[in-house]
């Protein structure tokens, strides 16, 4: 869309963006205000005097060491993303493309693992990991990613089902193994879905709260999301610091999402007779 036709579209997009961006705008603006200004002015107002003190304080707090938390969070998120991509692609392919006994009922079981509230499995799972001596390590947070995630398997399976079978069949006729079909046919066509899964998983692991809360004890091993909550305590709410910390925790994700869109392009364009 170019030129004059693009203008109303830009208008709509800008208006919509503004509406959706309000919460983040408030977060940003509050992070740049002094506590005095936050207490005395409207939430939405632009700061009368922009101050970077909040950021400075969060970054230099010896009780909540931001750089350490960042490192831990990056590690856990990256590993979770890699693990989920590998395992979920494999399992989704089986459910989408292969025929085997019990397939449909196993799929139902896959879905049903999402239906039981985590609260009641939290403690037995915790006990399980404690018996393995995995508590206070990153293992309980990362290893399950390599064993497939129901949500992502479901997502990829749906996406794979939408891909035409002609290419599969052509490859099969050429004698390709299932693994080859997966890696050379399906995956290249699944750019958008794979990017979605990758980005979602990274973001989910980055923002995960209950997992690190439960399984990580040492302050040096904690993640950003848990560290963030320490700015909201029983009696005091240090909004200015909480907002600055929140902005810093959210910013990498925004960048990731922006960058991830390059991979979010359409799959190979199919023409009729290929």
């Amino acid at each position: 869309m170019k030129g004059a036709r693009a203008l109303p579209m830009h208008g709509v997009l800008t208006l919509g963006s503004a509406i959706f961006l309000v919460p983040f705008y408030v977060m940003l603006v509050m992070s740049l205000k002094s506590p005095e200004e936050i207490a005395k002015t409207n939430m939405l107002s632009w700061p009368q005097a922009i101050t970077w003190d909040n950021y400075r304080e969060v970054l230099t707090n010896p009780g909540v060491v931001f750089s350490l938390l960042l490192k831990n969070t990056v590690l856990i998120s990256a590993l979770s993303m890699v693990g989920t991509l590998i395992s979920s692609v494999m399992v989704a392919y089986a459910f989408a493309r292969l025929k085997f006994p019990g397939r449909d009922r196993l799929f139902l079981i896959l879905l049903s693992t999402m239906m039981l509230p985590g609260i009641v499995t939290m403690i037995p799972t915790y006990v399980l990991f404690a018996k393995l001596h995995w508590v206070n390590t990153f293992l309980p947070l990362v290893v399950p990613a390599f064993l497939g995630s129901a949500y992502n398997i479901f997502l990829l399976r749906q996406f794979f089902l939408g891909l035409p079978r002609e290419l599969d069949e052509a490859a099969l006729l050429d004698g390709a193994s299932h693994w080859a079909i997966l890696s050379r046919v399906i995956v290249p066509l699944s750019g958008p879905a794979l990017t979605t899964v990758g980005v979602f998983t990274f973001i989910g692991a980055w923002r995960d709260f209950m997992g690190p809360l439960l399984y990580l004890n040492d302050p040096e091993r904690q993640t950003l999301e848990v560290g963030l909550r320490l700015y909201k305590t029983m009696n005091e709410e240090q909004w200015h610091l909480l907002m600055a910390a929140s902005v810093m925790v959210t910013l990498p994700l925004i960048v990731l999402f922006l960058v991830g869109q390059k991979a979010f392009v359409r799959g190979i364009v199919m023409t009729g007779g290929k």
Binding site: M1, G16, S17, F20, V22, P23, A39, K40, M43, L44, G63, I86, A94, R97, L98, K99, F100, G102, R103, R105, L106, L108, L111, M115, L116, P117, V120, P124, Y126, V127, L128, L147, G148, L155, Q158, F159, L161, G162, L163, P164, H178, W179, T195, V199, F200, L213, N217, P219, R229, L230, M234, N235, E237, L242, S246, T250, F257, F264, R266, M270
Partner: protein
């Protein structure tokens, strides 16, 4: 990565060396207090070579979940911060030490140094379970001296009293009269400055109740009878209603909420309220938000809260201390640590930072807690700090029994309505009493139950698993597979391996365990007991909240899921257009889905706030008299006469507000649908255009069918997700007002972690499971009508 391995190696060596003992101390300190705690711990290490202390800071909101899980798994910390509200959960079940034997054997230790009330509050039957570290009387009135001067009143000295009617002849000695004198109104009657506000309504009401000599229950340690319908309590609530809703001397609850961004103390700092009641913990924040250098600075101080007309002074209070878990391998060292951290060394540090009043009296009456001439100017305020000590003999603790939080939560439903004015005080409190007493009776009923039959249950669990396995593979057992089919099946199971392994090793075990627990009575700490099908019975016929929460969740799902899907679809279509800067736009729409829960909850409260919130500013204008798009008139029947709608505080609008909030997260669903749209091969559109289809035709015949799988995904996961919605209600409304946002998951959570009834919670979870499963199967059947491009069928 290398650093992490290095840390691990270090610990391994240290462990092997064996000389160092490590004590783990868990606490809920915020980022600021943490520094002081860590400093104190470092000092302890220096004074006690051979002992290392690890401070594990856990956010306050989830503190006990983690502690309970740790205890269940046998990895509880050695020492934990604890408070009167919660310690009995652990002491009752024999999980923490009674400190009496430690104290008796320790000749250097003198318990009488500590304030008696906080010691008593942490004891049961003469046994002290928690060594107090700080006490926090909530009977301090922050006064704006300028406001007093403007009203021509002399400053109070704490000898004032309160009464239900103002006594003008007593002038400044009558708190009620002072409140009214300090209230300023505009010509139209609207209050421009309130005379007084408590930090939260309960703070003031507790004061009114306690100073009349009334109490909420018949005992602090072990209540059996709630007393919410005590006439004095009813009168206190009626008085509060009058002050906040009729006289408007106190801001109404719609303008006041405990976790609101503009906290009542902020109102005080803005000069919108002349007096505020709270604890001393507000001071560090006041110093930051209201420095003496600020251009609208006014002189302020604290004054002791008024006594009742007969001279009885009483007030609510907070406080905390440290306890020792019986699972610690080093009880003697743990005692030394507790003595340190709940003793002079750590107390002085916290006092110097102005963060906590020491529980040792000698320390609370001198610097650094009490400012003197050498204290820097900023920290000189409040000058009257000594009243934190004067207040202590008047403090009253709420019942400390482990049943009380739950009982109070049930009473709160009715109490909230009294505070909002939707119920008259007498009726409301009688209702609160009934709910509270009913719940207390249920909790106290000691059921004689047998221990859980693990062997039999385990066997049953195995049978169920085998049954499920059979169900999965049964239909195709008879059929003979061709060689090719066998090869394909083998390949398939190869691909499935990661998931199958995870399923068996990590997922099924806990699921089956929770299923077994749904037939038990289990409080996480003690061994489970057999309850048979009684949990399920109780849910269906003995728990009205079960049906209420199911209804709330069903309504939420029925509205939020389709709406969310529509919005996500609309966004996906909008953001699929080829326009410059599209990645940026997409990011903008997605950002709310990224925002952290805590920060965004705060922001949303600011949006929904009745007085000056974003939404109401749009609808009602900044003077409160506008009528944007006629919405104000349209909404009028829902609210109270003339007042802007209190979105989250009004029973009729709270759920709708949460639904509105959920739509902001539509960015998440949008991404999935966008991926789906991107995956539609171009040639279908081209073919369709060649066939003469217009935009709508292409949409109907290409887009929607091709999006089928993605739409189905969104619908199913949306449903599964919305039935388990929890976080926002937990943070923002706690199920209120009334029970209008009591989501099923919230009810489940309360049973699990507040009531410590994990067995019942498991039953609730499995009921939900069956419900969601049924709905999903129905959707999948519907699915058969959806066109799949590459489906196997």
């Amino acid at each position: 990565m290398a650093r992490w391995i290095g840390v691990l190696v270090f610990f391994a060596i240290a462990a092997m060396a064996g000389a160092t003992k490590t004590l783990r101390l868990a606490c809920w300190e915020g980022a600021e207090a943490l520094k002081s705690v860590q400093d104190a711990a470092a000092e302890f290490e220096r004074a006690h070579p051979g002992v290392r202390v690890k401070i594990e800071a856990v956010p306050f909101g989830n503190y006990h979940e983690k502690l309970l899980a740790q205890y269940a798994a046998g990895v509880a910390p050695d020492v934990s911060l604890m408070n009167p509200e919660n310690f009995q959960r652990y002491s009752q079940r024999g999980v923490i030490y009674s400190l009496n034997s430690f104290m008796e054997r320790d000749s250097e230790f003198h318990l009488k140094d500590y304030y008696e009330p906080i010691v008593k509050a942490h004891s049961v039957g003469g046994q002290l379970y928690v060594l107090p570290r700080d006490i926090a009387p909530i009977g301090l009135i922050y006064i704006n001296k300028k406001a007093f001067a403007e009203a021509g009143l002399s400053l109070p000295d704490g000898s004032w009293t309160w009464d239900f009617q103002p006594r003008p002849e007593l002038r400044e000695k009558c708190f009620t009269w002072v409140m009214q004198q300090l209230t300023q109104r505009a010509p139209d009657g609207k209050t421009t400055r309130y005379g007084f506000t408590p930090a939260w309504p309960g703070a003031f009401i507790d004061l009114l109740v306690y100073s009349q000599g009334a109490r909420y229950a018949d005992s602090v340690e072990n209540p059996t009878k709630a007393r919410f319908d005590d006439p004095r309590i009813i009168q206190a609530y009626a008085f509060f209603q009058d002050l906040s809703l009729k006289q408007k001397v106190i801001p109404s609850p719609s303008a006041l909420s405990t976790e609101l961004m503009v906290s009542p103390i902020d109102l005080f700092l803005q000069g919108k309220v002349a007096m505020a009641q709270s604890g001393i913990w507000e001071v560090p924040n006041i110093r930051k938000r209201h420095p003496t250098t600020s251009k609208d600075w006014f002189d302020w101080d604290i004054v002791l809260a008024p006594a009742f007309r007969d001279g009885t002074r009483a007030m609510p209070t907070g406080g905390s201390g440290y306890c020792i878990f019986k699972s610690t391998p080093y009880p003697e060292d743990a005692w030394k640590l507790v003595k340190w951290m709940a003793g002079a060394p750590a107390m002085q540090k916290l006092a110097a930072a102005g963060l906590a009043q020491p529980a040792i009296r000698a320390l609370a009456v001198k610097p650094p807690w009490i400012p003197d001439a050498s204290t820097p100017r900023e920290e000189q305020f409040p000058k009257n700090r000594i009243i934190t000590d004067t207040a202590v003999p008047s403090v009253v603790f709420e019942p400390t029994s482990s049943a009380w939080p739950e009982v109070k939560a049930y009473a709160t439903q009715a109490i909230d309505q009294v505070l909002l004015g939707t119920l008259p005080a007498e009726k409301g409190m009688k209702d609160a009493q009934k709910r509270a007493q009913d719940r207390l009776d249920v909790i106290l009923k000691q059921e004689d139950l047998k221990p859980f039959p693990w062997a039999m249950a385990g066997l049953l669990g195995l049978v169920v698993l085998i049954g499920v396995g059979a169900w999965v593979f049964a239909p195709e057992r008879g059929r003979k597979l061709t060689a090719r089919e066998k090869a394909e099946a083998r390949a398939a199971f190869g691909f499935l391996t990661p998931w199958l392994f995870g399923l068996i090793a990590l997922t099924l075990g806990p699921m089956v365990f929770s299923f077994m627990m749904s037939f038990s009575d289990w409080d996480i700490i003690q061994p489970a007991r057999w309850r048979g099908a009684q949990n399920y019975q109780e849910a269906f016929s003995g728990d009205p909240r079960f049906w209420v929460s199911l209804k709330v969740t069903a309504i939420y799902t029925a509205v939020a899921v389709p709406l969310g899907l529509l919005v996500s679809l609309a966004l996906a279509l909008l953001l699929n257009v080829k326009v410059k800067g599209m990645p940026l736009y997409r990011t903008f729409f997605y950002i709310p889905a990224l925002a952290s829960g805590v920060a965004s909850a705060l922001i949303w409260r600011g949006v929904f706030k009745a007085d000056g919130g974003l939404l109401n500013t749009i609808i009602y204008g900044s003077d409160g008299r506008g009528d944007f798009l006629g919405l104000a008139s349209a909404l009028a029947p829902l609210g109270q006469a003339g007042d802007p709608i209190n979105w989250l505080g009004n029973e009729k609008t709270a759920l709708a507000s949460l639904i509105l909030m959920s739509l902001w997260g539509a960015g998440g669903g949008m991404v999935v649908l966008l991926a789906g749209l991107q995956g539609i091969p171009q040639h279908y559109y081209e073919a369709s255009t060649i066939d003469g289809a217009g935009i709508w035709g292409r949409f109907r015949h290409v887009t929607i069918p091709m999006l089928g799988p993605a739409l189905m995904f969104s619908l199913i996961t949306g449903l599964i997700g919305s039935f388990q919605v929890f976080t926002n209600a937990f943070i923002m409304t706690a199920g209120g007002p009334g029970e209008s946002t009591m989501f099923y998951m919230l009810h489940l959570y309360n049973n699990a972690f507040v009531g410590l009834r994990m067995g019942y919670a498991s039953a609730l979870a499995w009921i939900l499971f069956i419900l969601i499963l049924g709905l999903t199967v129905a959707q999948l059947r519907l699915n058969r009508m959806v066109y799949y491009e590459g489906d196997l069928r």
